[in-house]
Amino acid sequence: MDDLYREVIIEHYKNPGYRGHLDPHDIQFADSNPLCGDHIEVTLRTDDQGHVAEARFDGHGCAISQASADLLMESIIGKPVEDVKKLSKQDVLDMLGIDLGPVRLKCALLSLKVLKAGVYGLGEASDSLVE
């Protein structure tokens, strides 16, 4: 019906492959989008070579926020943590394949913000991580 709700987004929203919580984990971070109440937690396990061995997200929110989290988890498994640090806003938008207005952009980028705050070991997630 419209570009924003491409099949891939609805599919990842309804049947996420990477929803869950890893216990034990090496990296964990969670944050919310105060505007909409979207909430995302990310847990990662890393291997000896510094690669992401497993990644899961948990939380609730709109289709855009949850689908982008699922796509993001899928994309980082097997990647060096150092590469994860370099992921940008554009990488997420490319995965989603849609253009977003300023409000929904926050939904789409919440999982990246949480992920990067986690891999950088920050105390607080900042919007500057996803600019």
Partner: protein, 407 residues
Amino acid sequence: MLDVNAVRNDFPIFQRETKPGTPLVYLDSTATSQKPLAVIEAMNNYYRRSNANIHRGVHTLAEEATALYEQARVKIARFINAPSAHQIIYTRNTTESINLVAYSWARANLKAGDLVILTEMEHHSNLVPWQILQSERGIELDFIPVTEEGLLDLEAYRSLLLRSPKLVSFTHMSNVLGTINPAAEIIRLAHEAGAVTLVDAAQSVPHLKVDVQALDADFLAFSAHKMCGPTGIGALYGKMELLEAMPPFMGGGDMIKEVKLRSYRPNTLPYKFEAGTPAIAESVGFGAAVEYLSALGMEAIASHEHVITEYALERLEEVPGVRLFGPAAQHKGGVAAFTLEGVHPHDVAQILDQDGIAVRAGHHCAQPLHEKFGLPATSRASFYLYNTKEEVDLLVNGIYKVKELFG
């Protein structure tokens, strides 16, 4: 009876399409209302003909601008039946009106341990100013609970009053549940307990006939932009003896009688509270808005909205998976907050937008109320004098489309 087609023709924005072939279905008047031509033209004419600073010059334009600014105040006073225009203080909006009371009256009158009663259905603008005062002064806050049905629990309120509150500050009409609270009764009980009252009338003054004297309200706050007027201006009504005893809120020009290097004498009401050059064009638009609403009649507007709301609640209830919040139509204004099973409110709003239907999604600046009902967010359709049953039908069709997409 309101002639809704004639009303719609008064609002230029309804001539636009959100995209080619898709008319605008505006169901977000609780956030802000659309503006009739009369208001747009009044402000336009002010800038074209009369623009000058007020209370400062003797030239023709300054006289005209001052007269327009004050005439608007008189119209606003009459609209809510204030005894005198001096009791109408221009502010930026409802939020600033509430903050004015919190910063001026409350700081002069409340001390550590004093109780302020609020309700669980307040907008953030009637929570945070008091929370700030709580951390600054050590005042205590307590809340009239909201029942499952979405009404205030008045029995619980009576027990709270036994603790001798100094202030009861409450919303006249909830911006989420739509509940119209029994303001006159709440105020009467507060007065019996010796408390001062502040009414957040942001949602009631635009939609109902509000009479501050019949309510016996001590303070009443509202915004122009939710009642067909411009953004950037609102009003605080207060009882004369309270306003006169209050210290100024902000210092600057216009709020003084006399200034020396180390001292000042404050101006009389209402200027004592209006520091600096105010929103003059906006006051003219505010005046035009109350004139527009008065000409149509608030009773006619309220009954039109009631018909639309009743119809909307009926139609929405039919949709499987829709859950509505708030009381039955007889207790509420033109607001329908709902969730759709399995779909986040943001997605609902976004998909409706594809068909030109504007609803709001989120917590609507009432996060504690959403937490009470265990929800991060709701979608909210709201109705005003220009909405029609056909628009409600479009909303319901749109929700069916959302269900199909997520089905």
